[in-house]
Each structure stands twice: as structure tokens, then as C-alpha cells.
Symmetry: D3
Subunit: 269 residues, 6 copies
Amino acid sequence: MHYLASKHTGTICILGMPFDSTATYRPGARFGPMAIREASHSLETFSPMQEADLEDIDFMDMGDLELPFGNPEPALAIIEHSVSKIVSQGRIPFPLGGEHLISLGCLRAITKEYQGLKIIHLDAHADLRDMYLGQKLSHATVIRRISEIIGLESIRQIGIRSFAREERPLANEILAEPEKIIDWASSSPCYISCDLDILDPSIFPGTGTPEPGGISFQQLIETLFEILRNLRVVGMDVVELAPQLDPSGVSSVVAAKVVRECLIALSPS
Amino acid sequence: MHYLASKHTGTICILGMPFDSTATYRPGARFGPMAIREASHSLETFSPMQEADLEDIDFMDMGDLELPFGNPEPALAIIEHSVSKIVSQGRIPFPLGGEHLISLGCLRAITKEYQGLKIIHLDAHADLRDMYLGQKLSHATVIRRISEIIGLESIRQIGIRSFAREERPLANEILAEPEKIIDWASSSPCYISCDLDILDPSIFPGTGTPEPGGISFQQLIETLFEILRNLRVVGMDVVELAPQLDPSGVSSVVAAKVVRECLIALSPS
Amino acid sequence: MHYLASKHTGTICILGMPFDSTATYRPGARFGPMAIREASHSLETFSPMQEADLEDIDFMDMGDLELPFGNPEPALAIIEHSVSKIVSQGRIPFPLGGEHLISLGCLRAITKEYQGLKIIHLDAHADLRDMYLGQKLSHATVIRRISEIIGLESIRQIGIRSFAREERPLANEILAEPEKIIDWASSSPCYISCDLDILDPSIFPGTGTPEPGGISFQQLIETLFEILRNLRVVGMDVVELAPQLDPSGVSSVVAAKVVRECLIALSPS
Amino acid sequence: MHYLASKHTGTICILGMPFDSTATYRPGARFGPMAIREASHSLETFSPMQEADLEDIDFMDMGDLELPFGNPEPALAIIEHSVSKIVSQGRIPFPLGGEHLISLGCLRAITKEYQGLKIIHLDAHADLRDMYLGQKLSHATVIRRISEIIGLESIRQIGIRSFAREERPLANEILAEPEKIIDWASSSPCYISCDLDILDPSIFPGTGTPEPGGISFQQLIETLFEILRNLRVVGMDVVELAPQLDPSGVSSVVAAKVVRECLIALSPS
Amino acid sequence: MHYLASKHTGTICILGMPFDSTATYRPGARFGPMAIREASHSLETFSPMQEADLEDIDFMDMGDLELPFGNPEPALAIIEHSVSKIVSQGRIPFPLGGEHLISLGCLRAITKEYQGLKIIHLDAHADLRDMYLGQKLSHATVIRRISEIIGLESIRQIGIRSFAREERPLANEILAEPEKIIDWASSSPCYISCDLDILDPSIFPGTGTPEPGGISFQQLIETLFEILRNLRVVGMDVVELAPQLDPSGVSSVVAAKVVRECLIALSPS
Amino acid sequence: MHYLASKHTGTICILGMPFDSTATYRPGARFGPMAIREASHSLETFSPMQEADLEDIDFMDMGDLELPFGNPEPALAIIEHSVSKIVSQGRIPFPLGGEHLISLGCLRAITKEYQGLKIIHLDAHADLRDMYLGQKLSHATVIRRISEIIGLESIRQIGIRSFAREERPLANEILAEPEKIIDWASSSPCYISCDLDILDPSIFPGTGTPEPGGISFQQLIETLFEILRNLRVVGMDVVELAPQLDPSGVSSVVAAKVVRECLIALSPS
């Protein structure tokens, strides 16, 4: 069953953000949201890992934003506006990327609503550059831009295994083990930004900048369960699936299964 | 060398069953038998794991059945008839799928020949539904149909990690660890049905419904060795390779290596 | 713009029929309706050939039927039921295949509603076999089955360039030039069944059984314009796009453009 | 031989512009320049059509610009600067796209240098929109933006077969047959902008927005020969090859052959 | 039906030659013979163009030679030996390549048997170089090597549209129109060497060095009919299908249809 | 950044060897060097594993040799000559394959320069055959040929998991654990030959003969670090990437990351 199509109201709000204009190595993340929906056909709604069924979860799929390509500012403005509407109603936005820069639009909205927000960033890449090829707004600078809004001290990173030399000092400050992060975030409102290239490319080749040496699917799911069950998550994004780079379709199924498990884990039991 | 082409008589009888009419998410398992033969060109006949050579094994490749697509009953009748002939001569059928529904045709034949047959089912999916999209005969119902012939108590499952909610209670009864299964089957005649999507999609992406979080190639081989060396196996199928879904060709090589190791392990040493 | 998504009521009713269980050489036509919708994003709604805009056309997209795979009878029953509802309201069904067998379900419905129906069949293959691999219901027998309902004399074929020897005599009776067909059909209600493999595989490689030596896109469009403008068309299908067989995506765009031009040409001006 | 690598000085200056941030339907034109160079390995340097050899032609390959993705203005500024340097030395820029928007950067430079410049635009799409998805700078608005610099009356279009309704009136003014264009341009300096999607997708599937019903390779070459031999061409671009959309590699070879023929035809004989 | 598998004796002898060691731009022609056999499944045995059925033709498929890769001499020796055996029995060899160099092995055998042999070479490339990258034995030198055995005056070329400058003078001597060739060859024994890249890459992209601007499928078939019906053909090869370069599979179907039509046309009626 | 393009002098000399004429199962390793360079764009120059940056490393990229296909001897002669020049200047050759046979050319040069050379061979396959399909020079015989120059006792193998039966006795003599090899090689000059198919095909599918059951990326890197840091390495090759067999591009990125880490580890710190 096509689970993402099946719900018309809900507290958790899936919202597709098909944008990839700043992708440098290989574009295609714009096709991510559609591919996740399609791949959800191949999965059951029932999660054996959580002994729960997506059909009992209070979520909905709001479809895709229509985002212009090229200059990212108009797209970021549309994203910020849409996410603001969701959070202002006390609902939980669950954006599907698209490239990682979309998280900046989301967090412009969310930081306005929640005091003391903490951000947990799962990724292979630090995304902490100040400029990338002369651009301030890029998938490679997105966490730096976010840190300028909320402060580096409100961000923790998991899984990073690629830095430019200039990023190393900043990354050192905020790279952390998942267990430490639970204590650090404590009862603060948290936003999770999950770049799926944190996974090893053997299981997730369909992404713009695959980085060998990543974590397994099982490790990612367990890390997410630990975070989602122990923290107060007010928003979460899943980004950087570029489905056409993996003609086997496995990457899309992986993304859809991550989304299924997170939707269930995000729900109050 | 093309090992599957090299033998013209033998006790173990490879038989291709290129059928996939009930595949729901992605078809293509019909191309499995041909792809396994072609991939066998890239492998040696010698198995370092077993220190034995396929050239010394008493097997043959009977080629492919010509199966009609559409309504599965005629195809199942052809399969049943062909497998009956093999088992009536005291030989061991080794069907290559094709989709999982072909196992039903095989077992219609084999259960007639062997009293007290036990079935060991390796898979990512339970395949225990009663109906699927209104159809009784489907890859998603095949074990349920088989259980109606032989009883659920004569079936054990390994590796299942995806269920519909309705399948959960039945699956609970028969899901087992490989070690337990040796005791359970003891000296009964056994049939092994191996859906290759039990493997993690990182190593086996070429299948209709890949399910992230599976076992490794090494784990599958060890599980199969344990079963094949300790039980009295009277038939075995290997199903659900859909080679064109993995353009790298690795899935076909994986299937061919599983077949090589099983042919050797099945042989009395 | 995604033109097929944009209309919610209309006289011409697009209806996706994702079914391909009897495909013999290469499956995948099940993905046709979805691919046509997606490819419509790349096309304008305006037709320079007809100086008209799809936005002014009275059509709607009813989405996809959920069809079971395997035995085709249940799928044909669902198709017949759905098409019957459309024609009983005086509307024009515009099914998107799926494999060619879906036309049988459509015509079971339409022949009941319209007396003196004529069928115009555009295709590379005659589809006039009585049985195919032992099956009565197959993409290769569909026109034979339809002729049993309505009589061979009510069918004309265009573009056929592949026959089995047994089909030759029947095909000789009904193969015709487009110009002749206008006179033949005159003011009768007509159903158009358009198998896109009538096109040369250079422009339409994404189909299960490509047959070299076909007509050009321009020739197909002109033939369709001649038929649609001069006859009283009460239903039309477009079948046998198997999009994943053409990784360039061009076949899907070709199908979407054929659909756009037919929707406009079908409309009373 | 890799002909584009073989020259280190020359009057005609190939310059790669790997940029595709505003591509709406399918990105990938960024890989165009590299693919043209690689495909040139498969072609001879000798042109039987012109009985001349590229080795005798006075051209060079300046490599690729390093262009930032995202906001197009910085990329356009780099393009304008680089092309200005070439034209200020009296040389002929021969940019390889990338997406069509790069022509805007080129023409910002060239219109400053040449009075009375005429632009001949070969394309399937009119690219005359004022805004596209809220963006002024887009592959779909590029000719409109250029017309604001130089006036619509200095532009002629060839091959256009797709318009939005809003583009129709403007396009009517400037669509022309190649023969008429020779008279119109007469002895003025001319810039040729050649979007390769003017070709039929059967021979050029590797492009972002393929439009069925295009011209043949032979027709394009003859049209280009007519223009290049009869007019005073001061610059020419070839854009919109997205090589990864055509896994057969043919589109890249087509582009490389177009470039080879144009380099020879551009040369004074 | 898999027509190439269906015959076990016959005058015309299909023989696969899976060799491509000298391919320079893109290898893969080794997979040609197997792909032609597989693609023959999708075609009828009946030819509407010739109103005849392959099932009535006196041909057989001898399978593939096992050819070593690397140094071509051992492979050429095996080819020469095998073809000699066929022609010494008065049968007609019908080799399937593989790269074009295999024709040298074939002609070493055939020129010994037949006095006054004429060779008709259909190709996009002249293959008349003396050396290619320092090698005497190469797909790019094959006709030159053959001319050293039989003399340039016994060779005619059709369809050539790519030369190196050095090849131009030789090619000028032997390039001819099909009509002229019938008179020229008259009643001499003839060998036809058909490099399928003579076709336009739109219909035959699956080849190592596609050359835009080729002939259509219909033109090739008609040229071959003219030759085969009017001359005394004692051998014919079909080479340079590299099936994996065309993921749509159309190139393999084109090759299989060319082979079907030639087998029928070669037969005395 | 494209790191391999950035250096014009250096002690470690990358040299591409695009040759694959003896590849038996699937060719394509000729495209390896180019693909490694392109994939290096997607990686940072900084290695978090070694806390060092490639920009500080004393290496250069000498580009690709132009190697003829077909008979391997001329290619091996060019390789030997080029590598001799590098080692005679006291520099460290770092060849990028190409197929494994290129190592023979490299070692013909290196064994002349260094007395007491030891060879460490990482691979899935023993490559110890005497003949392969009648050829002495083959990717499957390369280590045997090398052993004839230097003696089997100067070679150790790591990771081998596929043998022909005839290779078993030789392989038994030289298969070793990495730890043992450090002692064995001690202070001798060492050459490392790394066939990337030692990796599991899940992370490295893009190779001619993938062999399931290999080591992980992390294990390979650690093994290489142990060797490179503890031994006196005078040359190293990385071979058998066939990039087009992995359309996801991950295999190329894996190879590029292996190269980056080895370049840094090879450098005196």
C-alpha cells in the first residue's frame, strides 16, 4: 500500500521539498519526495521492529511544495512560510528533501516558534563551510548558516566522516556520540536533520555525494530510535535521496523505511 | 566456465521456472534462471569454502520450463508435473525462480511423494496472507497456500523481517532460529525454499521487493551449510532474483554463488 | 505543469490501468500510467499543432484502478465495471495501459452501451492469436477475443508489421489504410485502441516488444488527427508504454504528448 | 583521438560552462562539456561532409569555467567576464553548455562588443517567458531576457515546436525559415545559439526536456552549414546536452559531431 | 519463440564469435551473439516483408566459439578453422560478431575455398587504416588486412560516412551505390560483411562507435534484399552489436530482425 | 575539487593505464583512471582518518598512457618503459588500472631497479593460472607471470577467496594474514598491487568479476594503512575499477577514496 497517500489529516505533517539547485557534484535530490512515496508501495505499514502499524499513527502527507529552481532565496521563503504555518498550529513538520539547503528554510520557521531549540544533525558531511564556490547559500554551508541563527552551541552532529580542513575546528566542537546527545538536549525542543548520506553507500548509493565508510541501516535506525524516544522532537527532515542515481531503487526503499520507522517512533505511544 | 551448462545427467536437477505474473511491486523474476546461468561464467567451479569442485558433483541442468503468463494455474500445473517426474525417479529437484509462487507447484508434487515432509522457508517476507489484492494465488500468499496442504506445524521460517499485521500471529508460531530447526526437522525429509530477498539489499538489490535490514552473504551461506549438512534435503528452490533491477550484475553473481555452494553442500561427501 | 493532475471534472475520463501480468517478453507496462503523468510535467499545455490549450479541454484524470496481478479475470472485471460507469454517464473513457489486454475489459463495457460499434486498432502486432502459450487471455490474443464479442468485420487494423503465420489470413481481412477507415466507419460510434509500439522503436523504445520498422511520431499524430476529427469516437485507449525499458525517459514523453494531442483532438471544437 | 584536447591556441575558443541550476524538469546539463570532450574520442578529425580536417582548423579548447550552483547571477558574471576577454581579443567564443541560461551571460558580453548584432536561436522551445516559477533568470526565460538587451527584432528562431500560450504572440514575430534568415541577417555580425533539443529525441534523447517531433541530424547539420557559410558569425553556443539521461552515449556523440562540423564550417576556407 | 535455438541441422550455419579485444572506444561486442539469440524471443518466425517463415528455412545455430581475449591471433585461428570446416562442406557460414576483426578470420577461410570472391562491406567506418594505435590487427584495420589477401579491387563498400584522412583515397576507390554493386559482382561468389553501425544511432545505439547520420532500418533491409536476392552469397557476417550500451534492448531486436530477414532472403525460394 | 588535477610535480606519480583487452567476463576497466579522477571531485582533499590533507602531499598526476588494444605485448612494453623512467628518477609509481595485467608491465620495470623486491597482492582472485583460454598473458595469469620473474617466495597474497582447483596448491603457499606480512617483508622494498575486487561487491560492484563475500571498505583501508605505514613501499597500483558497471558511481568514489588515503599514507610524515 502507498502509505504516504493514505492520510488526510494528522499531527505529523509530511511535506515534500523537491529542490536541488545548489547540488555541486550530482543533482537529482529534487526527485526524492516522489520516490519515497512510490517506494512506500513496496513496504508494509506494519513495523516489526516497533510492533506498531503506520495506520494507527496520527500523520498526513501534504504533498509537495512547488519550488522555483535557480536562486535559492525564493524557494527558502516558500519553505519558511509553509513550515511556519504547520508549527503555528502546534503540528510537527516532517519535510522530505530535496537537497540539504531546504533545512535552512525549515529552521528559519522553527527557531521563531521554539525557544531553546536544539538541532541534531546526522550526516556524512559537516556542511559547515562559510562559502562554497562563492555562494553563501549551498548544501555545503547549510549548517553554518543555521548556526548563525541559533548558535553553534545549540547544534550537535552525528556520523560526520568528511570535512574540508577549514571545517575541522568547528566540527570538533559539535561532533558527538548519540548517547551524549540525549543528556545534552534533555527536555529542550529538538529538530532532527537527517541527511541520508550518513549511511554507507553500499546500502544508500542514491545520493549526490556518497562517502564510503558510513553506518549501516540498522545503526541508523537504532540511533534514530534512541533520539526520537528520549527527546522532545518538534520537527524532523530527511534529505538528499537522489533516486535516479540508484537504478536498483533500493535507496528509495531505504528512505521510505526510515520515514516509516520515524513516523511511528515520533508518535506518542 | 558456464558451470550450469556442463552436466547432462545427475541426481540433483536444476530446473528453471521463468514466471513472475503475480509480482506486485516490480516484475522481472522471470529473467532469474537465465541470469544465474550467465553469471556462473564469472565464477570458478571450485569452492574454497568447501574445498570441493562442482565438476565432481552429481547434478544436471534441465533448462527452463516454458510457462504461460497470466493466470498462474496452468503454470503451476506444468511445474507440478515436471517436479513430480523428477522426484518419482528419486532425484532431487533444484528449481530456480521466477517468483516465489513457483514453490507452490513444486510442493504440490513433493508432498505427494514424501510423508512427513518439513519445509524450511528463508525469506524477508512471511508470505502468509490469505488473499492479496483479491487473489488466492500470489507471491504474497504462497506459504499460506502451502500450509493448507501440509499444515503450519510442518513449516519453519528464517530471516523474516516484514509482515502485514494480519500475518503476525501465524508468523510468531513458525519463525525460528536455524539451530532450533535442525532439532525440529531431525531426520524428516526436508524441502528448502530460499527467497534471496532474505539478503540485505546492499548485496542483493536485484529483487522485486527489497527490504532493508537483511542478513549478509556470509550469514546466508553459513545458515544454508548448517541446514544442508545436517538434514535430509529432498528438494530446494532459490527464487526472486530479478536481474535487470541490478544493472551491476552483482545480484546474479550472488545467486549463482549461492547455487554453487548449495549444489556442493547438498551432495553426499 | 502536471496537466493530468489539474482537472477534477470532465467529459473525457483518463483512467490508469496498471496491469501487465500476461506480458511475455518483457513486463513493465504496469508503470505506464504513472510515467505518463510524470512526463506531462515536461510538456506545455498548449499544442502548437492544434493551436489549442489543454486547459480549455473538458477532461479529468480519475487516477489509477487498483488491479490484482496474476489471473487476469478479476482485473478485467474491475476494468469492465469502471468503464461501464463512465460510459453509462455519457462520458468518454480514455484508459491508459498497462498491457494491451486491458482493452478487452474496456470493450466488454463499451460494446454493451453502443450499438454498431467499430474498433480501430493501431499496433505493430496483430494480436489475433487464438491461444498464446496455452492461455486464452493474453496481450497476444486480445483482438481475437474482442472479435468474438463484436465480429471481425467491425474491426480495422493500422500499422501492423508483425504476425504469426496463423494470424496472416485474419489480418489480411482487416488491415487497412487510414483513409479507407474513415469511409468504413462513417458515422458509427468508434473505439480507438492505440498500442504505442506502432511507433518505430527509435522514438519509442520503452515498450515490451519493440518491432523495428515502425511509423514516425509525426505520422502517428497525423493518423490520429484524421481519425479523431472525422469520426465519432466514444472511447480511446493508449497502451504498452513500459517506461523503465527506456531510461532516457523519451518514451514516456512521447506517450504524454500523444495523450495531450488526443485529448484536444477528441474535444468538440 | 580526443580532438578537443589537441589544440592550445586558436581563433575559435571552446569554453565549457557546466551549469544547470535552473533546469526544471531534469537536471544534468552540467555534465555536457565533459561528455562532448569524451565523445570526441570516438570520432575522426576528418569530416567527409566538408572534406576537411579539424587538425587544420584554428581553434582551441580553453577547458571549463568553474561556476557556482544556486543563484545564477554569480555564474552569469563569470561567464560574461570570460567571454568578454575572448571577444575583446577578436576571437570567436564557442561556449558549450550547460543549460540554456548560459547564453545570457555570453550575450551580455558580446552585445557590448558588436553593434547591430543579430541572434539566431535554434531550439525546440521558445524560451520567451517573462517569469518561470517566479524566477526572472531561467532556461525558460533566457531569450526574453536577451531580447530586453538587444530587442526582439534582432532575434530569429528556428525549429521551435513548443510554446506556452503566453509565448505564442512573441514567437510568431520571430519564428522563421532558415532561408529567410540569411537575407535578414545579411552582413551583420551574428551569434548562433543552438539548443540541441531542436533535434528529434530519437537521435538526441539526452536532454532535460525532450520534445517529440523534431528535426533529423542531417537537417540540423544542413541548416547550420547554410548559416555558418553565409553569415558573419562572431560567436556560437551549443547547449542542453545532459549526457547521463542517455545511457547509450549517442547524444554525446551527436553533440561532438555537431561541434566538429561547426568548428570546420566556422573557419574561413 | 527463440528461433535461433530451434534448428539442429541446416545449410546456413549461424556461429557466434564473442570477441572484442581490439575495440577502442567502448567494448561489449562480445555479448552480441547471446543478445541476438535472446532478442529473437520477441520476434515472430514469420516475415511479413517476405511472406515466408523462418521455420521453413534450412539453417542451424552452431552456438558460440570459445575465443580467448587479448592477442587476437589465437582467436582468429580458431575462427578460420571453424569457418573452413563449414565452407568445406558446401555450407554457408553466417557468423555473428563480436567486433569487426572477426571478419578477417572468416575471410582467411573463405578466400581459400572460393576463387574470384567479391566482398561487399556495409559499415559506417571504412576500416582501411594500415595501423591503429600501433596494432596491425584491429577493428579499424580489418578491411585493409582483408584487401591484402584479396586485393582492393575485389571489395566494395556501402554506407561509409567516417574516414580518417589517410583512408580517403582508398575509400574513394571502393565506395559504391548498391545498384552498381550488383553489376560489379555479377555471378561471382560474394561474402557480405555487415557492420550494424551503418544504421543511424537512433535505431541502433548499441554499438561501440555510433556515427550520427546513418541509414534507416528500412533502407538497410532493402539494400540487403537487393544484394541477397541478386547475388551468389557464400557467406555473410553481422557484427558490432554491443547490447549493453543500449539498455532499452532495441538494438538487439534490430540485429535479430536483420538476421531473420537475411536467413530467409539467403535461402533459395 | 578535482584533486588529481591539481599537482604538476611530485614524488608519487599517478599514471593512468586504460587497458582491458584480456578481460574475460566483462570489460570496462579501461575507463577506470578517468572515473577515479572525476570521482575525486566529490571528495574533500582532507582525510579525517589521517588528519592530513592531500594538498600537502608530494604527488602528481601524469595523466594516462595511450595504450593499444588487442595483443597485450605492445601495451606492456609502453607500461614498462614509462614506469622505468619514473623509478629511475627515484620516484614512486602509482599506476591506476585498467585490468590487472598492467601490473606485469609495471613489475617488469620495478624488479630491474630494486633488489630483493617483495610483492603484496590484495585481490579476490589468485590470478595464478599458467594459461587462461590458451593465453599466457591474461588478467587471470598475471601473478603467475610475475612469479616467474621474481619467484613465488617473494609474493604474498591477501584476501583471495576464489581459486581454480589448479591454483589451490600455489595459493596455499603464499596466502597470508596482513600482520604476518609486515614481518615477512621487513625492510625490503615492497610493491603493492591492489585489485579492488578484494572489496565486497556491496560496496564495490563496478568491477569485471565481482566475488561475493569480500572485505569491507573499512577493513581494506586499515589493511592498507598497516602495510603502507610499516613497510618501505616503492610502488603501488590500484586496478580493476570498471566504472560503467556501477551506474550509481559509488565504485568510482570508493576507488578515489582508496587512492586519496594511500597517497597520504605513502607520504613520509
